[in-house]
């Protein structure tokens, strides 16, 4: 009788350990961990969804710094107009009761595909209404405009308004459709060749041989012109023991540190940065070519080992994998015809528009008082035309008004900008009208100091 009383408890204990063990096994297994996903992740995060601990605490809360670790730098660069710190002022306590702007996850909830809008926003599109209810009183031009239209192309963004503030719009309002200046900035050699003890760039450690075709490819490269030789990439340790047949990102980053950093932040490198295997087109949600399904995303996937042809990396390499409508329409676009013209010498240097010209643009960085041109390898910074690309990309070649209208036309984006914008936005005229009205008001301080 006594033994029977213990039986349910023993069975319960056994079940507890079995279920616990199974859950622990599933949690640790990369193959089966997805059973814990409470819903599909967003386009920005699905690549690393199997690394729960990137965002979550052990008890599945959201880490305080989860968002900032990856996004803080780009928000600072965009001069974020709604930084979290702004809402820490107690005077905003009443606004926080409407919407908790202290948490990124208030607007960007993960695992909620049915609620997710572009840019991973999970709030209804009229979210500006929570704080800017009196905007129509301050700006009569806004009377009748629905709050759901605030954050559409050409008006406002929540974070990045660097191309949407009034004085900027006014300054660029009368630009022509196409600007009269070259497109791409000249990319002068930035990386410093490593110091090498061997005298000849072709030197190999004893016992290592190289294919003549590889040597020929290397001779065509910028590496050869800069005297960067075999050992500079392949030799990580001393002599033959340190010879690496297929150098990884670690080798490249010894000279191309900012490019490597951008790559690890990008859609191509974020899995690698999270300690997962490299990204492959087979893992992508966007349409990709079957022929490239198993290509591993590293430096050589786009640049090609030894030849390191930046022109091939700028357009052909993208189309080697990407197979969406925008990419498929590239060949028939004016951008592509300019790129081809430059390639055969019919166009001025820098006037061709490759995929990289827009999505991995050459950016000017001010370093110790000098301008330094770098290729932004984090294409995530230039993937969303309306929210991120107007100023950093489109305005390199196009006038503000044309670019604004073009980005407001989703069909035009899909056709890779074949044709003219279907609509004209009112926002520039609204700014001009307000400036004109102000200009006509009498000068309040005639005795200017």
């Amino acid at each position: 009788m006594k033994r029977r009383r213990w039986l349910p408890l023993t069975l319960f204990g056994a079940m507890f350990w079995c279920v616990g063990g199974l859950l622990a096994f599933l949690m640790r297994s990369e193959e089966y961990r997805h059973v814990f996903l409470p819903g599909a992740t967003t386009h920005g995060h699905y690549q690393i969804e199997m690394r729960c601990d990137e965002c979550h605490t052990p008890m599945m809360g959201v880490k305080n710094d989860a968002c900032n670790r990856c996004h803080e730098q780009e928000l600072a660069a965009a001069n974020d107009t709604h930084p979290l710190k702004k809402f820490r002022d107690p005077r905003n306590a009443d606004l926080l009761e409407n919407i908790d702007a202290l948490q990124c996850a208030t607007c960007h909830r993960e695992h909620r595909p049915h609620l997710t809008h572009p840019m991973g926003v999970t709030q209804p599109p009229d979210y500006c209404n929570h704080c800017h209810t009196s905007i129509a009183e301050e700006r009569p031009s806004h009377i009748g405009l629905p709050f759901s239209s605030c954050a559409t192309a050409g008006c406002h963004n929540y974070h990045d308004n660097t191309a949407l503030y009034e004085d900027f719009i006014l300054k660029h309002a009368d630009q022509p459709m196409v600007l009269q200046r070259p497109v791409r900035r000249s990319l002068e050699a930035r990386a410093q060749p490593p110091s090498r003890s061997t005298a000849d760039a072709r030197d190999l450690p004893s016992g290592v041989t190289a294919d003549q075709q590889l040597i020929y490819d290397w001779e065509q490269s910028a590496h050869a012109r800069a005297d960067v030789g075999c050992v500079d990439c392949h030799q990580l340790g001393k002599l033959k023991a340190g010879w690496v047949a297929k150098p990884s990102l670690e080798s490249c980053s010894r000279c191309h540190d900012s490019e490597a950093e951008g790559f690890l932040d990008s859609r191509h490198g974020m899995r690698m940065a999270a300690g997962l295997g490299p990204m492959t087109p087979a893992l992508a949600r966007l349409p990709m070519r079957d022929t490239a399904a198993d290509l591993t995303m590293d430096c050589n996937a786009c640049h090609g080992a030894h030849r390191y042809d930046t022109k091939a990396a700028a357009a052909a390499a993208c189309r080697n994998c990407h197979d969406d409508e925008h990419t498929r329409n590239y060949d028939a676009s004016i951008h592509a015809s300019l790129w081809r013209a430059e390639a055969i010498g019919a166009g001025e240097p820098g006037t061709g528009v490759s995929c990289a010209a827009c999505h991995l643009p050459r950016e000017v960085h001010r370093v110790e008082g000098q301008d330094e041109v770098r290729v932004q390898h984090n294409q995530n910074a230039n993937l969303r035309p309306n929210e991120k690309m107007l100023r950093s990309v489109c305005m390199d070649c196009h006038g503000y008004g044309f670019a604004l209208d073009a980005l407001a036309d989703p069909a035009l984006i899909r056709t890779n900008f074949r044709g003219r914008p279907a609509r004209h936005l009112d926002s520039i005229q609204m700014v001009i009208d307000r400036a004109e009205a102000h200009r006509k008001t009498p000068d309040p301080t005639p005795d200017k100091p």
Partner: protein
């Protein structure tokens, strides 16, 4: 007295002593620097730094020496940040640090409408310092978001010609007749209190 009773009495005595000590500590904490004194000290630093920046940097380099401009869009225009922007950037940096107090620059005639007084203490404080032409400060306690704050409001006066010129000419200003020495707004400092 039985040994058990002795032990019990000893524990009670020790607990009492510990409680007395802890209560002494909390009194010591309560007798620390008063919120008003703290707010006044913070304001002295904030006002001095801002005046130095306004007079010695912006007004001197922009209006007198004419070597560099100050601009609302200082990054794009490669110019100096405006004094109010410098002040707000500091305030946001302090907020990011959760430093135990916050401060803001508000006005009944703000260029940015987000900086209009919102709470009762802000409204009363800004009116008070404007009416008194900055001769007296305003102090109050208020509850915001379920927390109690000691709130101090100090007059913000036009210390340089650059202040008056910029505010009178800005297209978003609701007031265009500011003069040097006028109270243009107020600095609000908040310290959480128990």
């Amino acid at each position: 007295m039985k040994p058990f009773t002795k032990i019990l009495a000893g524990i009670l005595l020790a607990s009492g002593a510990a409680l007395a000590l802890l209560s002494g500590c909390s009194k010591a904490k309560a007798t620390g620097i008063a919120p008003k004194q703290m707010a006044d000290a913070l304001h002295a630093v904030l006002e001095s730094d801002r005046t130095v920046y306004t007079k010695m940097v912006v007004n001197r380099l922009q209006n007198e020496e004419k070597v560099i401009k100050a601009s609302e869009h200082w990054k794009d225009d490669k110019a100096l940040p405006l004094p109010a922007q410098m002040f707000r950037m500091g305030a946001e940096m302090v907020q990011a640090k959760n430093a135990g107090f916050t401060y803001s620059l508000l006005s009944m005639w703000p260029v940015n409408k987000q900086n209009v007084p919102k709470t009762d203490a802000e409204k009363a404080g800004l009116e008070f310092v404007a009416q008194n032409e900055g001769t007296e400060n305003y102090y109050a306690e208020e509850v915001l978001g379920g927390k109690k704050y000691f709130t101090a409001v100090y007059a913000d006066t036009a210390v340089a010609a650059a202040c008056v010129k910029c505010h009178n000419e800005h297209k978003d200003t609701p007031r265009t007749d500011f003069k040097l020495g006028d109270v243009m707004g107020g600095v609000v400092i908040r310290i959480p209190v128990e």
